[in-house]
Structure formats: structure tokens, C-alpha cells
């Protein structure tokens, strides 16, 4: 059998009945055909099975139909069924039968073999031949298909890809262009053919991409390089190309590939622009911007942040953000929370600590930094320097204080001038009285001398008469009574002045106001005393003080709020005019509630018109005459209460009156920064 050509990995399918009627048994086929090569696989199937279900035609090398079964018609039916299935058909007939063989051929058999003396050899030979032919045919088919595929690919690349392809000859003449290149050059392929590349290519593109050099370099066999050409229409990018040149053959032909990248180039320009814009914004913004990573360390800081914290460029990166805050500052906990929970923080006030240890008051806004899937990757904090604002705020508070004190001083002056007026006049009169009394003293002295000198009754009577005359002249009886009255009235006057001055003294300490534990009732009372002193003509003050806890606050600032509210209340009553029958009344009430103290100041004055009510806390808003109020009283009060983390609100009805409510929370652990201003050492409170 060595003489037979040898094949490998052969799969043969034998179709035949599984009974004695077969031309050759299945095992015989296996024995005979198994010799034709290595790894011959033979399977048998009944003619009634659906072969297409189990076999792929291309994977089969040969179909053998055992014609031993049934009548001739059955063989032919099988052939009919399997012709066109794919693999070559070899029919094995039980005996030589030319006619049947002929019919088999006609029906699609590729070969017929009869069982006979040389059956094994004939079968093998026929099988090998058929297998060889079939394999060759399949191979041809594959090559053809490949060529077809390559042609399709070529067509796709050259004609359908949105890239301009140009083949340039050694003399730089265009050999061929694809449709895209034809469009780019605005020339038909045939128009482009044969002309110099520099003539067909748009000049700007040729120049910007240095196409001549590129082609020459590729032709020399230099490593391929890519260039990007950008064409502008004025300022605007009109087109952009990526250009590559590739040497094609020894004849010096070069393939130019021009890829239009206008869209992505525009995008890149836009991204570039946005980045520059962002960078510009961040670099030049008037706020400090700090990006903090999940490890609470600074990843980025803009120049303002560096300036605010007194650091040199780049020094902040890598620093723990905690190092930029005072220990336990509210800002740090806000930032930490933003990092942990992804929560946003808006406009909280806190203090940063600069390198030199100075506290910088800032407003902080903080938002989480998220990546595309939305995980928190850190936080962006923006700090607004409030130093100047704080300074201004202190000035405003001070100005307003001065304004209220001015207003107050005018009222107080009146109250002091009244007693001073009658004390002064009384003292003058007492001087006159004294002068009158000198006469009495002289008379008494004379009488004494007469008596001591042993003068007679007539002399005594004369002296007595004379004294009597003086007493009558000066109306001594009246004088005696009025003397006492003048002194008592004057004493009462000095007492009144003493009280006013004592109450006023509280306000003279306004400049060194420190946070302290204060009795709110006392704060209100001393302030009310002063205001009432000047307003007592028109206003009755009703004090309704509840049991309230001592609060940590800036007492002078609280007094200022109370004074503003009381002055407004008195003003509102004065504005009712003289015709009002109802006596003017201001009620001051304090109550401990909601973990703090509520202060209510209610008047029955003119009230605030509804259209004005929303604006009363606005700075410089005033309904008073020009010159009588700065319009900052309520806005300053608002600011003070807010710095105490409290609340101030108003309710008013024109013609009925106005009520202001102030809430001050009990902040036992409050740091100085909360109540405003830089921390100051707390001296002995009792020393004041």
C-alpha cells in the first residue's frame, strides 16, 4: 500500500443500511479505507438520517454510498439527496452493473466502484483521487475567496475610508488618487493623474505639511513620519489633516495618506482653550482654591491660597489640610465631612492659620470632587478672605455705636441739663440767701454782745428789735423753709445725675468688649434705664424679666442691640404724635426657652408699613429723617445677633405696634471666633 499517495486527517462518511444487504460491511470499509492515510476517521450512517444536521460538508473529505441496499431506485434516491451536499460521492455497487453505474454518474456520483477481486485497491485508489481533487478544489476556492476579500478590502480602504490617498511617482507626478483625494484636490482622478503633487494639492496644505519634504523623505526610506497640517480661515481652524508618507516600491513611488482630523483638532483646541481658561480662572481668581485628596492632604492650591496662607508657590501641595486650620476649627470639620460624606458646604465662616500663625478669617465653600462613576475623590474648597470685610464690619458696628450714642447723648444731655439747671439756679439762690442771713448773724452777734456786756433791758430790746427788723426784711420764715427745700431739691438733682452717669458708664466700655458670661436681664435693664431716661416723657417702660441663664456673649454688643431696638421703639411711639390717646408703652420681656434666651421688645408705636418690613434689616435702610439715623441700626443688630448664632425677627402692624424678638443661644463652649473679631486674652472680669 506504500505505493498509494498518502493523505492525512481524512474524514469519510459511509452511508449504508445496517444489515446484510450491504455491498461491504462497515468494518470492511474501515479496514480498506483506513489504509489510505494516517488518522483516517470513518463514520457510518443510515440512509434515513439527516446528514446535514450532523456534518459540515467542508469538513468531510468523502461520502461513500453503499449501493448494496434495496432496489436500484433507493441508491439513486440517495444520490439525489446527497448530490450537491459538497464532498465527492463514491458509490460502491455490489456487482458490476454498467447501466446502473451510468445512472449513478448521471445522478451525481463522482465515481462508482464494484465489489470484485481488486475491490480494496480500486476503492482506495478511487477514494484517494476523489479526496485529492476535492481538497485541491477546496484550496482553490479558499484562494479565490481570499483574493475576493482582498479586493473588497482594497475597495473599502481606497474608496470608502475617509482618508485621501495619493500615489506619487519618483518624479513627484501623481500616479493615482482615491475619491477622497479627488475631492480634497477638487480634481477628477484623471485630471489629477500625471500632474505634479505641488500643483494639485491646495497650496496651504502643501506648505503647512511640507508635503514635498515628506514625500522625499519617505522615498529615501527614512522612518515614516506623521505631520499635522492646520489650515485657518482667519482665526478659525477650517481644516486639519494628519499626513503620512510611505515608500511603496523600488521605483520610488510613495503613498501619501491624508486623514482629515478637523473635528478632533477643533475639539482639542476647544479643550486646550477650556484648560487655559480654567487655569487662568483658578490662577487669577480672587479666592483661595484648594483641592484636597481623600487622604486630607492638599493636591492643588492656587496662588491666592498660597498668598492667604503665607506660603511660597508649590509649598502647600502634600501638606495636611489640618495644618491650615486652628485645632478644632469649624472649617476643618466641615471639610472633613465633605470628604467623608460628599456633602456640600456653602459659605460657612471659619479661620485659616497662616504660616506665621496669624488667623485669617475666611468664608468657606466646599464641594466634593467626584470621578466619572461618581465616587468621591476629594474635595474642592474655596476660601474667601474676610479680613477686610471683618474690618469694615467692625467699623460699621463702631460707627453705628457712635451714631446711637450720639442720639443717646442728645437725650441724655437734656436729662442731665434739667437737674443741673435747677441745681445751678438753687446754688445761686443759696448764695443770695446766705447774704441775707449775714444780716441775721450780725444781729444775733450784736444781741449776744449786748447781753454779755450786761446791757440793760432797753439795750437788749433795741438789739432784739433790730434783729427782728432784719428777719422781717429778709423774710426769714420763708427763707428758712425754702432753704431746706432748695437743698433737698438740689440733692435729689445730683442723685439723678449720678444715676444717669452710672448707666452711661457701661457704654463707655464699648471699645474693649470681650466675650463674657453675662446676665442678659442686667444688660437689658441698664440699657433700658438710659433709653428710658430720655424717653420717659412719652413712654412707659414695662419690664418683664424671666429667670434666664447667664450667657456667654459680648455684653456690649448685646446692649447695643437692645439699645437700637429700644430707641426704635421709643421713636415709633414719638412718631404717633401728640393726639394719640393711648399712652406710649414699651414692654421688655425675657424668657429662657429653646436652649437660650428670648428677648422681646414690643411697642405700641406707629408700626412698620408692610412694604418696608422686608427691608428693615438692610444696611442703610432708614425711615428716619435724614441725619437722625444711619440706617445701620437694625442691620448692625442683625449682624451682632447672627455672630452670636442667634436669631432676630420682627412682627409689625401699622397703627398697632411692633415687636422684635431676639434669640441668643446658650453657647457654653463657644470660641471667640464665633462672636467675631480676633481672640483676645480674657482679663479678670471682676476688675472692670
Amino acid at each position: 500500500m506504500a505505493a498509494h499517495p498518502h493523505v492525512e486527517a481524512v474524514r469519510i462518511l459511509v452511508v449504508g443500511e445496517a444489515d446484510e444487504s450491504r455491498a461491504a460491511s462497515a468494518s470492511e470499509f474501515e479496514r480498506v479505507l483506513g489504509r489510505i492515510g494516517d488518522g483516517v476517521e470513518i463514520e457510518s450512517r443510515s440512509p434515513h438520517e439527516d446528514l446535514a444536521k450532523d456534518f459540515v460538508p467542508d469538513r468531510l473529505d468523502l461520502l461513500v454510498i453503499d449501493g448494496g441496499f434495496g432496489p436500484q431506485a433507493a441508491v439513486l434516491r440517495q444520490l439525489d439527496r446527497l448530490a450537491g451536499f459538497g464532498p465527492p460521492l463514491l458509490v460502491v455497487l455490489p456487482r458490476a452493473d454498467d447501466e446502473l453505474a451510468l445512472r449513478c454518474f448521471r445522478a451525481g456520483a463522482d465515481q462508482c466502484v464494484c465489489v470484485g477481486p481488486d475491490f480494496a485497491d480500486v476503492l482506495c485508489e478511487a477514494a484517494l483521487e476523489l479526496i485529492g481533487d476535492w481538497r485541491a478544489e477546496r484550496e482553490r476556492g479558499r484562494v479565490e475567496k481570499h483574493v475576493e476579500w482582498l479586493e473588497g478590502l482594497n475597495d473599502a480602504i481606497v474608496n470608502r475610508l475617509p482618508a485621501a490617498l495619493v500615489v506619487v511617482a519618483a518624479d513627484d507626478a501623481v500616479v493615482s488618487v482615491n475619491p477622497e483625494a479627488s475631492r480634497l484636490f477638487s480634481l477628477s482622478p484623471s485630471q489629477a493623474q500625471g500632474r505634479a503633487l505641488s500643483q494639485v494639492c491646495p497650496e496651504a496644505l502643501y506648505r503647512d505639511a511640507a508635503l514635498g519634504d515628506l514625500v522625499a523623505s519617505a522615498r529615501r526610506g527614512d522612518p515614516p513620519q506623521a505631520r499635522r497640517a492646520r489650515l485657518y480661515d482667519g482665526e478659525r481652524l477650517s481644516r486639519a489633516y494628519d499626513v503620512q508618507a510611505q515608500k511603496l516600491d523600488v521605483e520610488g513611488r510613495v503613498l501619501l495618506v491624508l486623514n482629515e482630523v478637523t473635528a478632533s483638532e477643533r475639539q482639542a483646541e476647544r479643550i486646550d482653550e477650556l484648560q487655559r481658561y480654567n487655569a487662568n480662572l483658578i490662577q487669577n481668581m480672587n479666592s483661595a482654591l484648594v483641592v484636597v485628596g481623600p487622604d486630607a492632604r492638599i493636591q492643588f492650591a492656587n496662588p491666592m491660597a498660597e498668598r492667604l496662607l503665607g506660603r511660597s508657590p508649590g509649598e502647600l501641595v502634600g501638606l495636611a489640610i489640618a495644618d491650615c486650620f486652628a485645632p478644632e476649627d469649624t472649617g476643618l470639620s466641615l471639610l472633613t465631612r465633605a470628604l467623608e460624606t460628599g456633602e456640600r458646604v456653602q459659605g460657612a465662616e471659619c479661620a485659616l492659620v497662616a504660616r506665621d500663625g496669624c488667623a485669617v478669617p475666611v468664608g468657606v465653600s466646599c464641594s466634593p470632587l467626584r470621578d466619572a462613576p461618581g465616587r468621591t475623590r476629594g474635595a474642592v474648597a474655596v476660601f474667601q478672605d474676610l479680613s477686610e470685610i471683618k474690618q469694615l464690619e467692625r467699623q460699621v458696628v463702631q460707627n453705628e455705636k457712635m451714631a446711637s450714642i450720639g442720639q443717646l447723648a442728645a437725650g441724655v444731655a437734656h436729662e442731665i441739663n434739667n437737674p443741673v439747671g435747677f441745681i445751678h439756679a438753687n446754688l445761686f439762690q443759696l448764695g443770695e440767701y446766705l447774704q441775707d442771713l449775714e444780716g441775721v448773724f450780725d444781729g444775733v452777734e450784736a444781741l449776744q454782745q449786748v447781753i454779755a456786756g450786761g446791757g440793760d433791758a432797753a439795750a437788749v430790746a433795741e438789739a432784739s428789735q433790730s434783729l427782728q427788723g432784719v428777719a422781717e426784711k429778709i423774710a426769714l420764715d420763708y427763707l428758712r423753709g425754702d432753704l431746706r427745700k432748695a437743698v433737698e431739691e438740689s440733692q435729689e438733682g445730683t442723685e439723678r445725675i449720678r444715676h444717669i452717669v452710672r448707666d452711661l458708664r457701661g457704654f463707655s466700655r464699648a471699645d474693649n468688649d470681650r466675650s463674657a458670661l453675662a446676665d442678659i436681664n442686667e444688660c437689658i435693664d441698664s440699657t433700658a434705664n438710659i433709653v428710658w431716661t430720655m424717653s420717659r416723657h412719652a413712654v412707659t417702660l414695662v419690664r418683664d424679666y424671666g429667670e434666664v441663664p447667664r450667657l456667654r456673649c459680648r455684653p456690649m454688643q448685646i446692649k447695643q442691640v437692645v439699645m437700637n431696638l429700644l430707641l426704635n421703639a421709643c421713636q415709633a411711639i414719638v412718631e404717633r404724635g401728640a393726639d394719640c390717646d393711648v399712652p406710649g408703652e414699651v414692654r421688655v420681656r425675657t424668657r429662657a426657652r429653646d436652649g437660650g434666651v428670648w428677648i422681646e421688645i414690643r411697642d405700641n408705636g406707629v408700626g412698620i408699613p408692610p412694604e418696608v418690613q422686608a427691608r428693615i434689616f438692610d444696611p442703610f435702610f432708614t425711615t428716619k429723617d435724614v441725619g437722625s439715623g444711619t440706617g445701620l441700626g437694625l442691620s448692625t443688630s442683625y449682624g451682632i445677633v447672627e455672630r452670636h448664632r442667634g436669631e432676630i425677627r420682627a412682627a409689625s402692624e401699622p397703627g398697632i405696634g411692633t415687636s422684635f424678638e431676639v434669640f441668643l443661644p446658650n453657647q457654653t463652649n463657644t470660641d471667640e471666633a464665633v462672636v467675631g473679631g480676633a481672640p483676645q486674652p480674657t482679663p479678670d472680669e471682676g476688675a472692670r
Binding site: A410, N417, V420, F422
Partner: protein
């Protein structure tokens, strides 16, 4: 300037002094007790208006800051009720609208608290002389 200038042909001038502060009235009476005036004292505008209803008055000296009615308002009433009376104001300050009102009502420069005894007496004499000559 010894003694009142008008004692020759006229009866004592009647002065109405108005102040809500009784000690001021008391001090005024003390000061003016030898001036030969008939002094009417009113502790506030209501009492003053009563006197104005009842008596002919030569001069009203009135405090500016009083409950219910300001001095200038009362003097406005005086001008209506007794046009012949001299009107004087005394003030302890504390009213920034005063200057405007003085101009409007044609009132002289007010006396100020605390006052000097001589100045008070002199001002009263001059004001009386003024209305008497009119």
C-alpha cells in the same frame, strides 16, 4: 438796672412758666421772687393751657421737651390764644429739630439749661419791654 422798668404806670407783669420738671419751676420762683412779677407756674402743657384760658399773660417761658407737647407747639398755641404775649423757650437740648421750628415760629434764641441767674432776669426784662413797646 435797679428794679423793674415798668413799675411806674403799669401793674405787675404776669409771667407763665411751663416745665414738666417741678424743681425747675421751684428754682425759677426762687430766682424771680424779688422781680415783682406775678408768677404762674404750670407743670406741663395741660396746666399751661388752663392758665392761658383763664388769665391775660404778658410772657410765657416754656420748656421745650415735655410729654405730650413740645414747647414750640405750646408757644404756637400761645400765639393763637394770646397774640400779645411774649414767648420764650428754655431747653436742655436733645431736640435736633428745634432750630427749624424757631425760624418757622419767629421765636428768639432760647434760654438754655443750666441758665445764669442774671441772664434769665435780663432776658425776661427785655422780652417784656419788647411786647410793651409794640
Amino acid at each position: 438796672m435797679a428794679g423793674p422798668m415798668f413799675t411806674t404806670q403799669e401793674e405787675a407783669a404776669t409771667l407763665l412758666i411751663v416745665d414738666d420738671e417741678p424743681h425747675i419751676l421751684s428754682a425759677m420762683r426762687r430766682s424771680l421772687r424779688h422781680e415783682g412779677y406775678e408768677l404762674l407756674l404750670a407743670q406741663g402743657p395741660v396746666a399751661a393751657l388752663d392758665w392761658l384760658d383763664q388769665r391775660r399773660i404778658d410772657l410765657v417761658l416754656c420748656d421745650q421737651m415735655m410729654p405730650g407737647m413740645r414747647g414750640v407747639q405750646l408757644l404756637g398755641e400761645v400765639a393763637r390764644m394770646q397774640p400779645g404775649a411774649a414767648r420764650l423757650l428754655i431747653t436742655g437740648g436733645g431736640d435736633d429739630r428745634l432750630d427749624r421750628d424757631l425760624d418757622r415760629l419767629g421765636l428768639p434764641e432760647p434760654l438754655t439749661k443750666p441758665w445764669e441767674d442774671a441772664e434769665l432776669k435780663e432776658t425776661l426784662r427785655k422780652a417784656l419791654a419788647q411786647v410793651r413797646s409794640d
